[in-house]
């Protein structure tokens, strides 16, 4: 693992009153959260909760209608290039240059990030071997499976050893071996200190295993935030699982039961 950045000021990520809208439809409303150094922060939410909109506004793909995004003290809107240089981003969908091979794509990313050849090559080869990407590095991305594309995106995000990783459902499509590797990579990544990870998922088990703190997002609003213990205190259930906490905080537990009952017996 690379040494932690020493030039960074402030916390890896601070959102203050962030709001994102698509036309009249609000996607995120007044979101405030902080990712500390050495922390993996899990952003939990159902489909359409606003996780991806939040992440896209951090990496500059969506312009928020209100609020502030700071990365190591830098304003993401004013210093967008400097912020992007400090972030490694894995998008939810594999938005890749389909007509390039992974090697060509990673070369482009390394060029944009101004990495030197030996460093970029060493990191790429290390991660490619770990994820068992070999012959696929020279095949067009359009011919690759979703899982392989996801591995390419993960390598691209890690290539410059960024101080902040912003990962939108990064384990989707990965095989169990790669999921395990990715989890270990993230744990070791923040263990070296100074770095932070924002990790969105709707898989409670993964969040429970990996994240020091979680934020529960529901219809664009942060319903709860903290460690698992804090959230258990909040729902007043000492042995509640993260899934139970999530459903309680999003007021979905009764709704889930009603939906299951409404389904009745599965028809044959």
């Amino acid at each position: 693992m690379e040494s932690a950045p020493t030039d960074a000021n402030g916390v890896p990520l601070a959102l203050a009153g962030l709001s994102v809208s698509y036309g009249e439809r609000p996607a995120v409303q007044g979101l405030t959260l902080t990712v500390h150094r050495g922390e993996i922060y899990g952003l939990l939410g159902s489909n359409g909760a606003g996780k991806t909109s939040t992440i896209k506004s951090i990496v500059g793909l969506v312009r928020p209608v209100a609020g502030e995004v700071h990365v190591f003290g830098l304003d993401a809107l004013r210093d967008s290039l400097a912020v992007k240089a400090r972030i490694g981003y894995v998008p939810e969908t594999s938005m890749l240059y389909e007509a390039l091979t992974p090697r060509e794509f990673l070369e482009f990313v390394a060029s944009v990030r101004q990495l030197d050849g030996p460093t970029a090559t060493r990191r790429m080869q290390n991660y490619a071997e770990a994820f068992r990407l070999t012959t696929e590095l020279e095949e067009p991305i359009s011919a690759l499976s979703n899982g392989t594309r996801q591995k390419v995106l993960i390598i691209a995000a890690l290539l410059h050893a960024p101080p902040l990783l912003v990962l939108d459902e990064p384990l989707n499509s990965l095989d169990p071996r790669s999921v395990r590797i990715m989890k270990d990579v993230l744990v070791r990544y923040v263990a070296s200190g100074g770095r932070g990870v924002l990790f969105s998922t709707h898989t409670m088990e993964v969040a429970e295993q990996l994240c020091q703190r979680v934020g529960i997002l529901d219809r664009g609003v942060l319903r709860g935030e903290g460690t698992l213990a804090t959230l258990r205190e909040r729902v007043a259930e000492g042995d509640a699982s993260l899934e139970q906490i999530f459903l309680r905080l999003t007021e979905e537990d009764a709704g889930v039961q009603a939906a299951v009952n409404a389904l009745g017996e599965p028809s044959v």
Binding site: A85, Y89, Y97, E104, E107, D116, T121, M124, T135
Partner: protein
């Protein structure tokens, strides 16, 4: 399941294909806002409009050929030297050649869209039997060509019948059928090659050469019309010589060549074999054999098409993998250069993009050849060479917005990278500059070979270079300002195509002004013309540069 069911399913697939072709949604494009039903209807309308345009061009060609057959309104010297039947066969040969070129060209453009749309992959997992899936694939493929193909099949016999009589019209039908069958089969074959060796090509320098070679071949049908017009006088002169010789081995070779063999049928129906002059009774047998072979090949093509579309276009294709396990190295470059390299790599696997890059270069090659073939004493040839440089400059500048659009259509990932608009603009301008210089170098090469006056041509190319850069900077700068004002780092072409088209106008004016001034002042001396041209071009660059890279632009 039946063909009827296959047709019903293909209706759904074709609607999806139209949607993907117009909005490139599956490639990551953001849909324009609006009712999805209206968007879908608009997509179908645009696809229909495209088919109608191609069909209209084919109709015009057929009507034009019929008018020539009817009135014989060509050069009187040619008419005096080429017998009537031979003349009619030559015109129909031209028509069939243009038909097959245009239909094939359409095919090589739409087949990659058909593949990338992934429409049939939605149907594959459904409980539909293999035979029906094959039928749906075939119907879907045929629907890409329906209106243009029907235009050829219907308009050709009618218009030839109008010009030469109903029997001759009927005799034109086998040629029209063969043209359609071959064009569809060639499109499928080249589509397959495209999948394996171009779009599916692995990385590496040698494979890049194969990809660019294919893309040059891919463009050649587009130049068929240009080439046909260029070679037509020489073709008629050769026919006049053959007519003088009478039946011979050479005329036998011509008679069995495609599509001339089919083109002989209407004049034979109208005036008998003797009307062609070059055919003796002994040559009728090889002609008949050739027609039978070509006819058989056309029937086989149709049968082959009915069973191969799904296998060739929709089942997964992987280029052969050499199992070397050596991990490649990365060689990062500067940011602007990486944009240029990326664009060239993408273009080498994307015909639509490669077309934009190769068009000015091939055009320059064709015009350079024309210059080279002109008599040395003809001053118009020198003007043609300078005009060709101007054309290359205008074409290269004209595609600036398209390069911007291609950057933005699908690739939102790029926006998450620390890549400034300045670097992107420099990368795109470098591409425009590269296209202009390669095209200009071709023309200079031909001109130097022919006239041995390198100074004027090189000076003209260099004097125009700042204007080309200025045009490209201006267009891209305006596009980025526009995108920024709309609150988007990069935006969708379909959301504002009008602006991308409009922005070409100032670019073309900037690139076109210096050659215009050269033309005005050239009469007072070439040096004066070149000096004024260079000064204006540099001034334009000085004005355009801040627009592209100044405050508020990047």
């Amino acid at each position: 399941m039946s063909w009827r069911e296959a047709f019903r399913l293909s209706q759904v697939a074709f609607a999806e294909l139209s949607f993907q072709a117009v909005y490139a949604f599956r490639q990551g494009n953001v849909l324009p806002s609006g009712n999805s039903g209206l968007l879908s209807a608009r997509a179908r309308r645009r696809v229909l409009q495209s088919k109608l345009v191609i069909s209209a061009v084919l109709s015009l060609l057929t009507v034009g050929a019929a008018a020539v057959l009817h009135q014989r309104s060509l050069n009187p010297e040619i008419l005096a030297a080429v017998p009537t039947g031979l003349f009619q066969a030559a015109i129909l040969t031209g028509l069939f050649s243009l038909d097959i070129a245009l239909l094939w060209w359409t095919g090589v453009q739409v087949v990659p869209t058909l593949i990338s749309s992934g429409v049939l992959t939605v149907l594959e997992p459904l409980p539909i039997d293999r035979r029906t899936l094959e039928q749906v694939s075939t119907v879907l493929y045929l629907r890409l060509f329906d209106l243009p193909a029907l235009t050829i099949l219907i308009a050709t016999p009618i218009m030839v019948g109008f010009a030469l009589g109903p029997i001759s019209g009927l005799a034109a039908l086998p040629g029209a059928v063969a043209v359609v069958a071959y064009a569809l089969a060639l499109s499928l074959l080249t589509g397959r090659f495209f999948l394996r060796r171009v779009q599916g090509s692995r990385g590496g320098g040698g494979r890049a050469v194969v990809r660019w070679a294919y893309l040059v071949l891919w463009l050649i049908p587009a130049f068929a019309m240009f080439a046909f017009i260029t070679v037509a006088p020489a073709f008629f002169r050769a026919l006049a010589v053959l007519a003088l010789q009478g039946p011979s081995f050479d005329s036998g070779l011509l008679a069995v060549a495609f599509p001339f063999s089919f083109a002989t049928l209407p004049p034979i129906a109208a005036g008998g074999p003797a009307s062609l002059v070059i055919l003796s009774p002994a040559l009728l047998l090889p002609l008949a054999v050739a027609l039978a072979v070509y006819g058989g090949l056309a029937v086989w093509s149709i049968v082959w098409l009915s069973g191969s579309v799904r296998t060739l276009l929709f089942l997964p294709v992987r280029a052969p993998v050499d199992l070397e396990n050596r991990l490649p190295a990365l060689r990062p470059t500067g940011r602007a250069r990486s944009v240029l390299t990326k664009d060239l790599r993408i273009a080498s696997r994307t015909p639509g993009y490669a077309f934009l890059i190769l068009l000015p270069i091939l055009d320059a090659g064709a015009l350079g050849l024309l210059t080279y073939a002109s008599p040395a004493a003809n001053p118009a040839a020198a003007s043609l060479a300078l005009g060709a440089v101007t054309t290359a400059a205008l074409l290269a500048t004209f595609f600036g917005p398209a390069f911007f659009a291609i950057e933005v259509v699908a690739y939102s990932y790029g926006r998450s990278l620390p890549l400034s608009n300045r670097s992107v603009v420099f990368g795109k301008v470098a591409l425009v500059c590269l296209m202009y210089l390669v095209a200009a170098a071709l023309i200079v090469g031909f001109s130097v070979l022919r006239f041995l006056h390198p100074f004027t041509f090189v000076a003209f190319v260099l004097a125009e270079l700042p204007a080309v850069l200025a045009g490209a900077f201006l267009e891209l700068g305006l596009l980025f300002r526009w995108a920024r004002r709309r609150g988007l780092a990069i935006t969708s072409l379909y959301a504002g195509a009008w602006f991308a088209v409009l922005v070409s106008v100032p670019g073309l004016i900037v690139a076109g002004t210096p050659p215009l001034l050269y033309d005005l002042f050239n009469g007072s001396g070439t040096e004066l013309g070149l000096t004024i041209m260079a000064l204006i071009a540099v001034a334009e660059l000085a004005l355009a540069f801040p627009v592209a890279l100044g405050r508020g632009a990047s």
